[in-house]
C-alpha cells in the first residue's frame, strides 16, 4: 500500500519536473517581453518585471511595427510552407515506391537519405554561397526553398515509408472488386489511410524549415528573403552594445506562436511521426 503511494508520489513529482523544465524558458521569455525597454538598459534582474518596470503590450507593438521583423515573418511563413509542400510531395512519391514496389537501388536511396540527414550543414555553406551568387539564387526565396527541401526530404521519406508500410493496400483491390473505379478506390480508400502520415511528415518538415538558421544567415543578405531566426539574431536595435532584450523577447514569442499552435493541435501525430521511422525502420 505504501509502495503504491510512493510510486504515485514519484510519478506526480516527475510530471511537475517535466512541466517545470519544459515550460520555464517559455514562461521566462514571455515575462521578459513585458519588461520595459528602459528598465532593461539600466538592468532589471529577476524573473518577473519589477513594480513600475512593466511595459504592457508596448514591446509587441514595437516588434510588429518593425518593417524588418514583419518581412521576416512573411518570408519564414512563405518559404517554410512552399518547401514543406514540395518536399512532402516528392517524398510521398519516393516513400510509396520504397514501401510498395520492388526495385533495385531501394537500399541506396534510404542510405543516401540517412547520410544527408547527418550531413554537417555548415560545410555546404561556402560552395553554396558561391554557387547561388553565380546563378542569381542568392538572397531569394527559391535560394532557401531548395536547400530546405534537400534537408527535409530524408526525414519526410523515412517517416512516410514507415507509415506507408502499415497501410493495408489490399483494401484498394477489395474496393475495386466491389465495383469502385480505380480512381474511386484510390480517393476513397487509400487517401484517407495515407493522409495522417503525409500530414505528420508535413508538420516535421515545417518545423525543420521554420527552425533553420545556418542557411538563413548565410544565403541571404537583406529582408528580401531573410527568415525569422536570422532576422532575430541580427536585430541589434539602436544601441549595438546593449541588445534590446525585451523587444527581442517579444519578437521571439511571436515567432513561437505558430509552433505552439501546431503542437497543441497535433501533438499525437507529431509524436507518432518522430518515433515511427526510428524504431521500426
Amino acid at each position: 500500500m505504501t509502495k503504491k503511494l510512493w510510486q504515485r508520489g514519484g510519478l506526480g513529482l516527475g510530471v511537475l519536473l517535466i512541466l517545470f523544465w519544459c515550460l520555464l524558458p517559455v514562461a521566462w521569455i514571455i515575462s521578459l517581453s513585458f519588461k520595459s525597454q528602459d528598465s532593461i538598459t539600466l538592468g532589471n534582474p529577476g524573473f518577473f518585471p519589477k513594480k513600475g518596470t512593466g511595459a504592457g503590450w508596448d514591446n509587441y507593438k514595437a516588434a510588429w511595427e518593425n518593417e524588418q521583423f514583419r518581412r521576416a515573418i512573411w518570408n519564414s511563413i512563405g518559404i517554410s510552407l512552399i518547401a514543406t509542400i514540395l518536399s512532402v510531395a516528392l517524398a510521398t512519391l519516393a516513400a510509396y515506391a520504397i514501401a510498395r514496389l520492388d526495385f533495385k537501388g531501394k537500399k541506396l536511396v534510404l542510405s543516401v537519405a540517412l547520410a544527408i540527414a547527418m550531413f554537417p550543414v555548415v560545410s555546404l555553406v561556402g560552395p553554396l554561397f558561391d554557387l547561388w551568387r553565380a546563378v542569381h539564387l542568392y538572397d531569394t526565396w527559391p535560394g532557401l526553398i531548395i536547400p530546405y527541401m534537400s534537408f527535409t526530404l530524408p526525414l519526410a521519406i523515412w517517416t512516410l515509408s514507415a507509415f506507408f508500410r502499415e497501410i493495408p493496400w489490399e483494401m484498394e483491390q477489395a474496393a475495386q472488386v466491389d465495383g469502385a473505379t480505380s480512381w474511386q478506390a484510390f480517393r476513397k480508400v487509400i487517401v484517407p489511410l495515407a493522409a495522417p502520415g503525409v500530414f505528420t511528415a508535413a508538420i516535421l518538415t515545417f518545423f525543420f524549415a521554420w527552425n533553420d538558421f545556418v542557411f538563413g544567415i548565410s544565403l541571404t543578405s537583406t529582408e528580401r528573403a531573410r527568415p525569422i531566426p536570422a532576422s532575430l539574431s541580427f536585430f541589434v536595435g539602436a544601441d549595438p552594445f546593449n541588445r534590446p532584450a525585451s523587444l527581442l523577447a517579444a519578437g521571439a514569442v511571436i515567432a513561437t506562436i505558430p509552433i505552439v499552435i501546431i503542437v497543441l493541435l497535433f501533438q499525437r501525430k507529431i509524436v507518432a511521426g518522430l518515433t515511427s521511422g526510428a524504431v521500426k525502420g
Binding site: Q7, L11, G14, V15, I18, W21, C22, L23, P25, V26, W28, I29, L32, K35, N44, P45, F47, L93, A94, Y96, A97, I98, L101, F103, K104, G105, A113, I116, M118, P120, V121, V122, S123, L124, V125, G126, P127, L128, D130, S150, L153, I157, N211, F213, V214, P229, A230, S233, A245, A252, I259, V260, V263, Q267, R268, V271, L274, T275, A278, V279
Partner: protein, 310 residues
Amino acid sequence: MTTVTAPTPARRRAMISDRARAENSLGRKLVAPAVIVMLIVTAFPMIRALWLSVYDYSLTAPDDKKFVGLDNYLTALTDPLFWRDTGVTVLIMVVTVAVELVIGFLFAMVMHRLVFARGLIRTSILVPYGIITVVSGFAWQFAFSQNNGFINSWIPGIADNYNWFGHPASSLIAIMVSEIWKTTPFMSLLLLAGLAQVSEDMIEAAKVDGATWWQRLYKVILPNMQAAIMVAVLFRALDAYRIFDNIFVMTAGAQNTESISFLTYRQVIEQFSLGMGSALSVLLFLSVLLVAFVLVKAFRVDLAQARQEV
C-alpha cells in the same frame, strides 16, 4: 476440362520479369525527383568544396586564385585553433548527449507509467522540440545574464553579479544548458518508443524471481531497448557535433566557445576565404563521418556482447 492452355513455364517467367522490370522502372522514376533534389544541394557543393579546398581562393581577391595543393589542410591541421575548436565540439557533444540520455530516460519512464495528463505532458515536451533554436539561445542567454536574468538569484551560492559569459567554462555551461533543453524532448520520445517495446511480462517475471529495481533496469529494461538507445544516441551525437546556432547567438564564439562548425562559417562568410573554408568544410564532413563510424562500431561491439550474454 478447360480448353485454355496454361502458359508454358518459359513464357510465364518472361511475363514475371516483364512485370518486375516495369515495377523496377516505375520505382526508379518515383524516387528520382527526391534523389535529384537531395543531391543538388549536397553532392555537387561537396565536390566543389573538395576542388576549392586545394586553392588559395578568397572572394575579396578572386583574381589571385592559385593552386596550393594540400596547404590549406596542413595549415588547418597544424593550427592549435582547429584542435581547440574540435576539443570544444567533442566536449559539448559528449556532455550534452550524456546528460540528455539521463534526463530523457527519466522523462520517458514518467511518460511510460503515466495514466493521466498524457496530452498535457506530450504538448509541453514538444514545445522545446518545436521552438526555434535561436529563440532558445536568446531565452537562456538572457536568463543567465547578470543584468536582466534570473539564474543568479535562483541558484544559491552564486553572486548576483556573476558574469556567466565572462569565463570559458561558465559560458560553455550556458550553451550546453540551452542545447540540452532544446533537444531532450527528441531523446525522450525515442526512448519512450523503445520502452514501449520492452515486454511487461519479462519485467514481471524478473520481479517474481526477486530482482531489485536496479537489477530489473540494468538486466531487463535497458538491454531490451538497446536499439532505441542506439538510434537516439547516434542521431543526437551527430546533431550535437554540428552545434552552431546556440553558439552564434549566445557567445558568438567568445571565451573560447567556438565549435568547428562556427570556425568553418567564420572562414567562409566573414572572412570570404573560400579556399581555406572549403578545406575546413571537408575536414568537418570527415570528422562527422568519423564520429558516425566510431559510434556504429562501438554499438556493434555492445550488441555482440549483449547477444553473447543472452
